[in-house]
Amino acid sequence: MFTLPQKESKAPTTCPGPASTQDLDSNHGDGLERECSRKPDWKLPEFCGVGDPTATASSDSSHLSSRGSIIKWFWDSAEEGYRTYHMDEYDEDKNPSGIINMGTSENKLCFDLLSRRLSQSDMLRVEPSLLQYPDWRGHLFLREEVARFLSFYCKSPAPLKPENVVVLNGCASLFSALATVLCEVGEAFLIPAPYYGAITQHVYLYGGVRLVCVYLDSEVTGLDTRPFQLTVEKLEMALQRANFEGVKVKGLILINPQNPLGDIYSPGELRDYLEFAKRHKLHVMVDEVYMLSVFEKSAGYHSVLSLEGPADPVKSFPLVLSASPHEARLPDPQRTHVMWATSKDFGMSGLRFGTLYTENRDVATAVASLCRYHGLSGLVQYQMAQLLGDRDWINQVYLPENHARLKAAHTYVAGELRALGIPFLGRGAGFFIWVDLRKYLPEATFKEEMLLWRRFLDNKVLLSCGKAFQCKEPGWFRLVFSDKTHRLCLGKRSHLLTHPSVCLPSSGPRCGSSSLSSCILPPSYRCQCGCPFFPGMQRVRQVLEGKSQVPDDPASCQSQESGNQRSGGETPPAVL
């Protein structure tokens, strides 16, 4: 049978060997981000590409092809972790000692709103045409709605066109399809790391495409104004290195807002990256899947589709100073491909709806040619069109509430981290905080990172560790704060007043944590008499307080969440 040579490889490997990585990603709990840490190819750490899973994939099976064995290996290592969690899922009443998932980036805070909206009568329409073979790009009515939706929310200067839209079953499929139609087997995309690790698998399974990491540092050096800052120099260097290694790079993947950093690129930065790509004739895939999950207004999010001429020539790199204001809004529209989905912004990762916007007809057509394999049900397409078209509900009900809940949860977790003296990044976007637990590692190795991660799991809380995002520094963790297992009471929103019936004394565990001033209570959740209930954070705290190697130094605790970190002149707080 197919086994990973866990024992064998333990011996020869010094730092994190396949053995530890396998444990790590098999269990780090994020249903989506389990893949990329299994890079057995430690000799070429800069290629986080799948490198050579063949090194660990062995098989006595006569049933699978060689590539089948590798493909299966992706599943096995991933599934094992998921299984651990699913076998012992936390439930406040039924299994209060179960595992709490703070690893999967899902927004479970607004299910009440969504289920109500999705149950309204306009969603229930069944029409014969929806049951038959569709236009593989997506039904026209949906593509039209998507174009309108993106025009509005991305603040596109001109209306976007339905013919530039391709609809498929999620961004995973989109990454796969783009990799296939833009690259030959063995070619690569650049990606700033740490990054959403599942992309490795998406571009690799069918496409055989690899990722070349543009490693970002936590330390603020040179012209950087913030930790993990992406700069054109770093892009240039990574590209050069890849060229030197003989790897043909065909494109650049940008995630904005970034996952796991929560970073938001300014229009000037975006333009710089796009100009860089244009210079090297690289495609740019901009994944904007968190674009409406920016809960801090001051964060100032800009979609790539909103760009209008060079935004801020002063901030631009010298190389693009020549750009005239009359220039096309995108430096290279034919090579710029935007991705969006409802998974994150509408908290519906199980709905499998993703969309591509590209002005390049060849690319749209080629991706659409693959949609036979990545289509979604006509009925769901209809529902999505209804949802995206309901601007009133989105603007007046969903988004304000979603943002308030995200913000409250974020504020709470950030407060807890601050109390623990743990440095972190979190810039007011996304569902997660990028946490620096380096001081809890006795040695700065991924092995230690894994051990810490394991300790969390032993204490029944699942996190994602930096290795899973190809972070090059051991000790970083991503902490998701939008799980439904916690409840926060919010004085100022006062659901206690509007829904007094939900405020029941409960025998459930109390968080027992430090003071809390602002939080919210989704109406469907019971309240704990004003006490915030966030058992996951409590467990994190338990682990860290028992484990901390270095005495806490509250002075070192500087958070970077929210606010305008990009305002140049300010001394950027180091990530500590």
């Binding site: 049978m1 040579p5 490198g51 063949t54 090194a55 994939a57 098989s59 006595d60 006569s62 049933h63 092809s65 060689s66 089948g68 590798i70 992706f74 899902e106 299910f111 289920s115 999705l118 969603m123 069944v126 014969p128 049951l131 038959q132 073979y133 079953n169 999620g170 499929s173 296939t180 833009l182 030959e184 087997v185 063995g186 698998q201 998406h202 399974l205 069918y206 290694e245 003989g246 790897v247 034919q334 519906m348 990762s349 199980g350 499998r352 060849d362 690319v363 080629a366 659409a368 040619s369 693959l370 036979r372 394999y373 990545h374 289509g375 979604l376 049900s377 006509g378 009925l379 529902q383």
Partner: protein, 593 residues
Amino acid sequence: MSGNRDKGSSQPAEAKTKTQSMSDRLGMFRMPSARMRGQGLRNQRIHTHLMEMMLHLKQTIEKNLMHLTTRHLQQDLVLEEERHSQAASEQEALLGRLMYQLVNLLQSGAVGGLGLQPSCPSLDVRRDVRGGQWAQSSRQPDWPVHQLSDLEATFVSQHLSSRGIDISALYHSSFQDYKIYQRDKYHEDKNTMGFINLGLSENKLCLDLMTERLSQSDMNYIEDDLLQYPDWRGQPFLREEVAQFLTYYCKVPDQLDPENVVVLNGCSSVFSTLAMVLCDPGEAFLIPAPFYGGFAFSACLYSKVELILVHLDSEVTDANPHPFQLTVDKLEQALLEARITGKKVRGLILTNPQNPLGDVYSRDSLQKYLEFAKRYHLHVIIDEIYMLSVFDEFITFHSVLSMESLPDPNRTHVIWGTSKDFGISGFRFGVLYTHNREVASAVSSFGYLHGISGIAQHKLCRLLQDREWIDKVYLPTYRSRLQIAHGYMTKKLEALGIPFLNRGSGLYIWMNLKMYLDPCTFEEELLLHRRFLDNKLILSRGRTYMCKEPGWFRITFADKPLLLKQAMHRFYQVLSEQKQDLIMKQLENAQRE
């Protein structure tokens, strides 16, 4: 994988060699440096070829232009127009051919990297008919023919990879008719001049029942699990229901295990993933021909797997008691021939009930095919997507899952979906059932890329659960409507004296229009197909099923009576025209002689 790997080996050196050989065999997953440089060299070679071809292209264009100009000068005005158009089409063909070769050459860079032999495209439709083998990756002779008529798709995009161009071109040519149809669909009130599509195997007989059932309140249920990341094999509740459903309708002796079920967004996805995990690029499946063209499309689109055709004959002989009968002898022979040419055959694809023939395999034949596969360690992918669409009560469908004991359960993989049997092709739902956990796991890795919406999974579960409705309402109505539509269609065909297979299953009839072709070639078949298109009727021709005899067409009858009537009217008109032309042609020939 040839199972030569010691499990306990802990020697790094040994492991390394194995790795090496594995990635060699793998082809697809290559490491950079050395091999990339190799690729560079190859590209250089291609580059030179490319330059030569460009030069040739240029010369040809110049020559043709010259020719045209001189003709213009010389020509008498009467014949001018006719010849002009002739010359233009000649030119178009020539240019098209060259462009296509260019694309192929470019693409051979990628194909070469996959360890496949780049071969020149064959534009001669007849050429490949004789060969039992059919190399994939768009060098399939069928597609270029289309491409000639539309250069747009063949054009080399500067933005796409060569396989991207390939995929676009392949899709464009394979689904050209479908695209035309999408733009101009027939509608009984709104667009009576639109295209009638009887080329697509789509069940439109029970849309009323399905619409009604799907509108019932139990369908509209939202639960948080449905909106969150699912089990990528399919939600447990759905896999459980599928296992029960198949146990019941496939008449399985023991209860099927939900753990053996993987649910993806359509049967094409299931097949595509199976091809990925069972074969390495360049390896092959056996498949009896004629067969559903989607297999060919899927096999070459992502997985680069070859299909080796087991050609079936229409003619009845001692060795071939029924038209197009699949026998173990034919399988043996095709396998042997493939092995002689060095092809690695990994499996056999069967469709039961068969598409386009409508054949339903007897239990006995099934057993024989499976035993054959077992003898040669071949996987069997058996597609039972029409299993509930058997409408002749004298015919019994035997699912492979109903067998008391499967000859080789670990190599038998069953595909089913709701597209045909429930007429909901827009739902995107396909099922794999396999006893082989390895295969199930490997296919599950693709769950991300072929996932179904939780909301749709819930609806499907409710649908499959409603045994009462299926047995008492849906299936009886569906089958009687199939019978009526089939009866209508066969009567019309009989009246026209057109031979066809009458098999009592499926949504289509396989008919022989050979008598309308003179000479009986695939070119003429294509011309007849075009003539149908010109009359706004889409059928699918035998060539797209890799039938080795020209003249066969598949016509779908699972549509509303009114539409069928209109379609048959057009059908009749086309054939009359065609007949007229044939007579004219024969007269001309006779006069010439």
